[in-house]
């Protein structure tokens, strides 16, 4: 066998059965479950009289519908409550390795709790009925989002029917500058290749700048792979990976830890492994990014101006720009730093981990949210992130500045709970999608890093955080 990529290795080690046309049954090690995309899957099992193949592979939590305040009052919205109750029922009936229900101290966004509890481990295949499952690829997992029929399929068979993707290498050379984060890198990559640029590929992120990222940063980068069209993104194992996992609740211990780490060390692409596409990025050229439109590819460096549709020659693209500017209520050629904000959201599976909160708090410390910003909120990704932040006094820094400090969950990334934008409101958000209505019908979303969101909250408009003193 010739040299293999990390993805090739992960794929080859999970093939159960392959058809002549490449349709393959791959074994799934870990199945993360949340309340929105699972009820119909469990119902399907019930109707067909099937059981869950390996309940021990399932780890579940409620995150999309859960409120971020007044937890003592439960879930007010009856339709949200129904979904969360349904998950409670399904967990009771079908079982799981671990379930963190609403108000459990470990409850949180499924893509935050998996890694922090050590239920995400290198070399795994990991699926979840959520497109941001690509997050877990930061641990050299083959991690991908699936639909509800596939959730049911994995529950019933412990396998996924799929075909192998092509290999793409995103090589990030040099080092990111001060004030430039993994989020900016992710957005810059999407700006370069477009939201369909990674379709059909498994992306491996490598190079000096990626090696230098913390696990939190790598998770942010892999999380956004789906916004580039790729079902999965991944980073090879190194000391950073192993140091992060040591001592985590569900990580192996003792002799098993030694055996496991020896296996994990092999989870790197071989020298001379062949990639179908290679994209090279110079980290030194990446600036803090701000999206101006209604797709993550509509993104520019903070010191740029809003695009002018008249300069676009492709008719479909020009229509897209015009439509986006109209929806976003922006004028062509205005500086991005002139965009004023109504709300600021720091949270989501992209940017709600402890490092994100520390970075945002560093910008906020000792200042006040601008008067034109009606609401600035911080939603930690999980119970443990919230506790850690409170131990470090980050909650005080945010609250003293005028931010609201909330309970964990998906919150205003998609506004399935009460946290949403009103029509016409404009938000600096650390989440992952700026689609029309994503944060609330008629809402206008600008995607940025936690530092950029924090600086925008203080200034009332976008600013270049590299100049923050």
């Amino acid at each position: 066998m010739g040299p293999q990529t990390l993805y090739d290795k992960l794929w080859a080690s999970h093939v159960v059965h392959a058809e002549d046309d490449g349709t393959t049954l791959i074994y799934i090690d870990r199945h993360l479950v949340h309340e929105v995309t699972s009820p119909q899957a469990y119902e399907g099992l019930k109707l067909a009289g099937r059981k869950v193949w390996r309940p021990g592979s399932v780890v579940a939590t409620a995150d999309h519908n859960t409120p971020t305040r007044n937890w003592d009052q439960g879930i007010a919205d009856p339709t949200s409550r129904l979904q969360v109750d349904e998950l409670d029922r399904n967990m009771k009936e079908y079982g799981a390795k671990a379930y963190f229900p609403f108000r459990d101290r470990n409850q949180g966004i499924v893509h935050v709790i998996g890694p922090e509890l050590g239920v995400t481990l290198p070399g795994m295949t990991l699926v979840c009925g959520d497109s941001h499952t690509s997050t877990h690829g930061a641990f050299a997992c083959l991690a991908q989002g699936i639909g509800t029929s596939e959730v049911e399929h994995v529950l019933a068979t412990q396998c996924l029917v799929t075909k192998k993707s092509r290999n793409m290498l995103v090589l990030v050379e040099g080092q990111l500058g001060r004030g430039v984060t993994a989020k900016d890198l992710a957005l810059a990559i999407i700006g370069r290749i477009g939201t369909a640029g990674g379709t059909g590929y498994a992306i491996e992120y490598a190079g000096a700048a990626v090696r230098a990222l913390s696990m939190e940063g790598r998770m942010t980068l892999c999380n956004m792979s789906i916004e580039a069209g790729a079902r999965c993104g991944m980073v090879a194992v190194d000391d950073t990976t192993i140091n992060y996992l040591k001592g985590r609740r569900f990580a192996p211990k003792g002799d098993e830890w030694e055996r496991a780490t020896a296996v994990w060390r092999t989870l790197v692409s071989d020298d001379n492994a062949k990639f179908d596409r290679v994209l090279t990025i110079d980290a030194r050229e990446v600036s803090p990014q701000v999206t101006w439109g209604t797709s993550p590819e509509m993104v520019l460096p903070v010191d740029a101006r809003v695009p002018d549709p008249d300069k676009e020659r492709d008719a479909t693209k020009r229509d897209g720009i015009e439509r986006a500017l109209q929806y976003m209520a922006l004028e062509p050629n205005m500086p991005l730093t002139a965009i004023k904000l109504d709300k600021v959201f720091i949270g989501s599976c992209t940017n709600s981990r402890i490092e994100d909160l520390r970075a945002a708090a560093g910008v906020v410390r000792g200042r006040r949210v601008a008067s034109n910003v009606r609401l600035a909120m911080v939603v930690p990704g999980s119970g443990p992130v919230k506790e850690q932040a409170e131990r470090e006094g980050l909650d005080r820094i945010f609250k003293d500045a005028g931010f609201e400090w909330r309970e964990p969950g998906c919150s205003m990334c998609l506004g399935m709970n009460d946290d949403k934008l009103s029509p016409g409101e404009r938000c600096a958000s650390t989440s992952n999608r700026n689609f029309e209505g994503r944060q609330g019908p008629g809402g206008r979303t600008h995607l940025v890093s936690p530092e950029m969101a924090a600086a925008a909250a203080i200034s009332g408009h976008f600013v270049d955080v590299r100049n923050w003193s």
Binding site: A156, T199, L414, E436, G437
Partner: protein
Amino acid sequence: MEKFTVHNGLVAPLDRANVDTDQIIPKQFLKSIKRTGFGPNLFDAWRYMDIGEPGMDNAKRPLKPDFVLNQPRYRGATILLARENFGCGSSREHAPWSLMDYGFRAVLAPSYGDIFFNNSFKNGFLPIRLAPSEVDRLFHDVAAFPGFRLVIDLAAQTVAYPDGTRAFRFEIDPFSKHCLLNGLDEIGLSLRHAEKIRAFEERRKAAHPWLFS
């Protein structure tokens, strides 16, 4: 799953790229625990003047007259014509469920969001990839000829004009085609390999016990 063999249907054009699943079915309608009933809220924000919420009587809501599906000539359309990267974004299978529930059986576009593409096949809904030039031609003809229909023949892998003047061939992987043509339950098919799955699992457990603890 509903079979897909030959389908002759009215075509509706949705002329924009990167139509994401948040547009196909907005998040407030994902709170249902059923697979049906999403059709009235398909493209909700583009289709209605007001802001849609679950439980509304959709028949009484004011429509946006410019939106393509609200135009009388496209009433009863069962084939959607779209642009690049249709169905990008979230993994919500509610997207194909709502397209099916509305009455669509197929979509024609140059490219798709990967998860949406996969989800569609599991529901008897056929996403067809055509060349950009073919899609351009179809957008032209659907605008030019009221009542424009197409005939999709899955076995032959063709999209044809009913009068036989033009036909486009499309590719589909043989497994998905077989499942759609016969309306097969994929879980049942996979469980034929139950012994192989069990054997794989035992080997994996022996080599990587920490994954099973």
